[in-house]
Amino acid sequence: MATTMLLLPPGGWLHSSRHSTAAAVGGFGGRGCHHHHGPPALRSEGACLHGVQPPVSCALPPWARGRAMVMLQAGLCPGLTAEMIQLLKASGIRTVVDLISSDLEEVAQKCSLSYKALVAVRRVLLAQFSAFPINGVHLYEELKSSMAILSTGNKSLDTLLDSGLYTGEVMELMGAPGSGKTQVCLSIAASVSHSLKQNVLFIDSTGGFTASRLLQLVQFRTEEEEEQVEALQRIQVAHVFDIYKMLAALQELRHCMSQQVVCSGGPVKLLVVDSVSAVVCPLFGGRQSEGLALMMQLARELKTLAREFGLATVPTGIKVELDIGGYGALEERPVFMSAVVFSSKTNPIELVYYVGVLL
């Protein structure tokens, strides 16, 4: 999946490299760019691509589809009885993965179960839980039909982003304090809500969302009060200030969208998260190591939302001083694949100029 990468090195030239591959990312000294394209992502994607459903048994609860770490339970598939499960548990086989990856002859001997029954169960489980491969042509066709490009409302930013925000992608904004990230977020939200008439969900974790500023931005685009009111009504704002609440909010959004509950007239098309690092930073440092795990959870949620529901997501990070192969000492690292970077190494006046070029 193409990722957007826009870098502003201290020298001052803005350049964009779309479709960055692993090689290009490696060229940046491998500085903490986390990849999400491992098998787990494919597995959940495989189960949820449009119009392509894996064979599903009616006994399988909806939440268990596509999750192979599911525990063995009676009724998961025909032929898997409760006694069988007890015997399997006694010899240490608890989940579907354990059963599929074990040697069935040994298991049959240890648990005194029939080998044929085990083979039959394994075949059914494999059919239900394995990832569904998809042809590249199908993927391309599906992308062409379901992807949309949302203009950000600002021509230079659109040019930089190759004509706008792509749905199904995550774009990250990074910058020093006071460089303008919240302003860019507000202006993108205002533009999508007013010009494109799409619903926007703005998750605010820093308290920087000011409705009066948003009103000003909308007022520059239209003079009529009715349109302004409508544009403001299409933007939903959620205030979450810690990581667990943010994960809960994103999971609720996913649940909401998968059940196609209409939240006040139309599905959400743009998700802006300002900022992810405010909720993730309190977890790093000291001697606790679960910070990275929670951060990756958050990354996975955002990516899943983007891919499954065709949202364009925009989280903002606060990491400063992006290092591009040796310009200087790197203090912090980008949280996700980075998109637009407002460098802080330049003098504040120059910085305003760069932001002015974009805005």
Binding site: V70, M71, G207, T210, G285
Partner: protein
Amino acid sequence: MQRDLGSLPLAPALRARLVGAGFSTAQELLEVGPCELSKEIGISNEEALETLQVIRQECDSDAARMGGDPTSLRTCTALELLEQEQAQGFVVTFCSVLDDILGGGVQLTKITEICGAPGVGKTQLCMQLAVDVQIPECFGGLAGEAVYIDTEGSFMVERVADIATACVQHCQLIAEAHQEEDHHKALETFSLESILSHIYYFRCHDYTELLAQIYLLPDFLSEHSKVRLVAVDGIAFPFRHDFEDLSLRTRLLNGLAQQLISIANDHKLAVILTNQMTTRIGQSQSTLVPALGESWGHAATIRLILHWDNNQRLATLYKSPSQKESTVPYCITPHGFRDVQPPPPSQTPEGSEMNPRKRPRIEEDKQ
């Protein structure tokens, strides 16, 4: 409702055991009773019970939010937020140019950070705001109470008494000029004693006490619901000396920032922090920047930097989501924080040569 185990607030060791036993969502855990859970993972019954309670609480609160209203994310539209903001007041600083650049005064539900060199007036501004938040509504104030958390020991009660007396006198002048009933009623309750009794003062000697105080603040605020201002005077001081582990410091500061913004949002109050300045040494020059590092710069929503310019004190709005960057002069009088008054021309013989921004050498009565 499906909640991934990774997103629930459980201890890491416990979570590792649950995942190892094959559980992956909250739903699966809730279907299992505490005895079975303790047997499966090998923890005690009480721990299993506690874990299930925590998970049930999380899922119940999700369910309540979902069942309650159709927009199930506890969201509000930007329009509703706009109406709320317009109905909210500001905490005035009594310096009208400063209020202008802030957009009316210090905003509620946001964190405002005041940085400056020693002696420029940060503590004075905090004390002024702690008094100003109590101005009755008919005079344009919020009629709220203030919490003052002091880490440097720079809070002087005598000075607050002076500022409060000046504020009461100012309100009395307004009441006499306008002669309205509610003004007089409000003035009966607005006196020096009432102002001083509504400033809740806490003294914290090191960072542990400061953290404890701030994490216990929501309980205090639920008992005193009229508090509209929380001032932390000297957030930098306990974190700058005696701290070896810098990554721990960043972690604690970020956690503190999130706790403060969460308090500001839930209880609709303004949070003021004062910060010190440090020198950043560049290649050819050095500049004064706010202390505590770049990552702390993101914590405050609004940043105000106070500095000197040849005996004139200036305030610069450095970071704000809704106002432009600008710089204004201010001064500190015996009555508190005020605008700069241009010196009257008749009193100085060489008035045309004097720089109006320079403080006159001879003490004159400035009113």
